[in-house]
Subunit: 200 residues, 2 copies
């Protein structure tokens, strides 16, 4: 038993180190961009030795894709909880605002930096493409569920996809300047459009 | 007169050098991303000496924002001509496809690389923000004109903006994988929606 007891705190420490590295990777990526976000920079920001960082993540690509996967899962669960608690009472406009909100802030900024870097780096691209596809499918499924729409109806699938593509485009428009007020007006208008075109 | 004659070919050469640098800047940016697109790399690709490149564009930021401005003007004129010739005969779906097409290919890829780099580099950001605003206004105006809609009507402005934000989001979705087939389906669906919601 003493053997197990001695190992437990070490596992906790290891888990905490990993979590710190993932969080630091996201903020570095969002603030500095891909080129400046080396493993050394992330390790320093996390207060972890470079050796420890490399023990957890053998490559730079592995560190950043794991970080994005981690945040996606967290945010997905958060959104699912929010929708599960309030889903049926939420207005279409409130749902649209939650979806638009997913594509803003540090998380979206970090993801954007990674997607764009992957366009010029084949090694990174290989890891990012399947991750992007999985994230896309999960978010799509959540939005279909919370809107309570039937994708077998003609045009419904495309309208839900358009909602997510619109959210992504708004996220990009919000990158260099605060576009929040305009986004709010578009959310209202988009909610009207959804109510008129999607049978809930 | 001999003085003028002697200067003319030199001016032509200078203009040709400038044009080659602008074109090379766009392809470098689209293919290599911002970090790898130095003035030296662009000059080599253009077949121009580094000194000549620096004579035309004193800073790296000046070269790339000029390049983007140049391509924007060219593509804007091309779109305006196409719309002027065919505007009233174009179906809403064809118009949506032209607009979506603006946010794809080398031009959009280069612009995206520049926007995203500007998020992490204040000096670049200063030049990119007013350029982005101007491009945004010009494209918006063109789309309003070709759709023949009245922005004083409630919701029209937001719906036109949403069309452009949707196009931008689709452009981003097309960055790492060919998303053309899905984009075509969304264009069809979006054209239906526009026809139902925008009085032309």
């Amino acid at each position: 038993m003493t053997h197990v007891d001695a190992r437990e705190p070490q596992q906790d420490r290891s888990r905490a180190t990993r979590a710190r590295l993932l969080a630091a990777a996201i903020t570095c990526l969002a603030e500095l961009g891909w080129s400046a976000s080396t493993v050394a920079v992330v390790a320093e920001r996390a207060g972890v030795s470079r050796g420890a960082a490399q023990h957890h993540f053998p490559t730079r690509e592995a560190l950043f894709t794991a970080a994005l996967e981690h945040v996606t899962r967290e945010r997905g669960e958060q959104m699912r909880r929010q929708f599960a608690e309030q889903g049926r009472q939420l207005s279409t406009e409130a749902i649209v605002e939650v979806v638009f909100g997913l594509f803003s802030g540090t998380f979206f900024r970090a993801a954007l930096m990674l997607w764009v870097a992957a366009a010029a780096e084949p090694q990174l691209r290989e890891q990012v493409v399947p991750l992007e596809a999985r994230i896309g499918r999960e978010v799509h499924r959540m939005v279909v569920d919370v809107l309570g729409v039937d994708e077998r109806v003609d045009g419904v699938r495309e309208t839900v996809q358009a909602t997510l593509d619109l959210a992504r485009g708004l996220g990009l428009a919000n990158l260099l300047t605060d576009d929040g007020a305009r986004r709010g007006r578009i959310a209202r208008q988009w909610a009207h459009t959804l109510e008129r075109t999607l049978p809930r």
